[in-house]
Symmetry: C2
Subunit: 295 residues, 2 copies
């Protein structure tokens, strides 16, 4: 094995993603030392005991000191408070599902966007959460989106790109705005719809019975709604404008479908279902299988 | 192997469910002969060539003649036309996801509910469809719901119960109304929401791009929307009242979530997400895993 690319990597937030990065770095020999900090001391101890991290730090400043890479893996609305404790000298990246806020936060904390900050997002969720679900292969064959801004040093982007490639991911670069709009559509809205469904069904008289018949289609929704609630609360709020924009369109579409059912409009209903089914067949068969196989 | 329970089983409609029943009957030695009819001659030929069925019939009357069990596996709004061609003398069951209509249809066709008709529903969907996806183990560890009415002979229910147990399923008996309400919630509404999402995203400028980032949560929706569109069109229309009733509640809940995001209402948003996540953990962990393993 060649020398590790990073001598000391600091991971702030040791949940599913932070823990999976830590264990993936070890497995692939990419970091000599992996130090972590988490507000939850139990997660930190579990990470240390299981050998996922080399060192458990007592504070954020202690974790980031002398680190040549700092990875923020906390819920998106917790990023600003973390940045306040980090000098913008080392290479910094994050893993949040909203990129607008990390840019705004760093402008607020540092008075500018540091050239060593590379906003990133591994599109590799799971209904599992917590460090105990850490998986060194979580990112393999998954996409990681980087959203550098004008201020970002190209060499910093290159190092983060290599980091993710080293962990088996495919790296895609796009603007902050494009990322947040795409994610609102493909991830944030679906999660919101799933939470709304589980909550609607729970408030029925037979709330508990419904879970028994989950095989009829509901199981995919419950899987989504099993994700970390605080992480998702933050995402919905941080990406509010983009989420509400696509939610508008969704509510309108749902109202249309409702009318078709109400009026027994066979032809239009079939047209819509055909379209969705066809699109799925055309564009996704291969990708989806690949994604499912890899997750 | 003991003697087959049925000497001649007629399956009307040779898609995923009809084909899976046929091949499961063979595998478990439950039927001496399995004859099928399908409007789609290609499906029928494929079924015959692959050995899934013993005989391909030219018409519904030819298929059901001398059969001691008739299984209707057609889209729910096609049931009435099929019943018109079937004398209500042999044991008859169906597999539709809506049970109100099969009862109404038989009353209309026969002038009464035949005592040998046992409405049934294997809760074992798949995004795959067509006879080429037939799977002899599709029903193993899945639930099958039977909804006999006052007129149904107990001995007929018993024979259908044994049929499904023989195919590895767990049989549950409930009323027609309860079935249709439960299924509207756990299956029909989730499918409607998934179709609405795929259709909403398709009509965006970057409609095709969204499929590339499906791993973020959207993949579970596309899987649902990959189901057979005609089957689903029929289900939504046949179970319209129950679907619209739960859709009312859903739209209201979605509007509430929308306001929470719009107003940055952290506390309420977190309460709703916690509730959904908690419920999923409490009631479903084991069941869902079992169901996923079996499907």
């Amino acid at each position: 094995m060649s020398d590790p690319v990073f001598s000391r990597v600091a991971i702030i937030g040791l949940g599913l993603i932070g823990g999976s990065i830590a264990t993936a770095l070890h497995k692939r020999g990419l970091a000599a030392t992996v130090v972590a900090f988490d507000q939850n001391r139990e997660s930190l101890q579990l990470g240390k005991q299981s050998g996922i991290i080399t060192e458990a730090a007592d504070s954020i400043p202690a974790a980031v000191q002398d680190s040549d890479l700092i990875i923020l893996a906390v819920p998106v609305l917790a990023v600003k408070a973390v940045l306040r404790e980090i000098p913008a000298t080392a290479l910094i990246t994050d893993v949040g599902s909203v990129k607008t806020t990390v840019i705004e936060d760093s402008r607020e904390v540092y008075g500018l966007i540091p050239d060593c900050l590379v906003p990133g997002h591994p599109v590799a969720g799971s209904e599992k959460h917590g460090v105990t679900s850490a998986n060194p292969d979580l990112f393999e064959n998954h996409k990681v989106i980087l959203t550098p801004v004008a201020e970002t040093k190209p060499s910093a982007v290159e190092r983060i790109r290599n980091l993710w490639r080293g962990l088996g991911a495919t790296v895609v670069v796009m603007t902050v705005e494009h990322h947040d709009r795409i994610l609102a559509r493909t991830s944030h809205l679906p999660h919101l719809l799933a939470y709304a469904l589980v909550d609607t069904l729970l408030s029925q008289d037979d709330g508990q019975e419904i879970f028994r018949y989950a095989a009829g289609g509901f199981r995919d929704f419950t899987r989504i709604a099993g994700s970390d609630p605080i992480m998702w609360r933050d995402i919905f709020l941080a990406n509010g404008p983009a989420v509400l924009e696509i939610l508008d369109d969704y509510q309108e579409k749902l109202e249309e479908l409702r009318s078709m059912i109400d009026q027994g409009n066979v032809a239009d209903l079939q047209r819509v279902l055909n379209q969705a089914s066809q699109a799925r067949d055309d564009y996704t068969q291969n990708d989806i299988e690949k994604i499912r196989g890899g997750s």
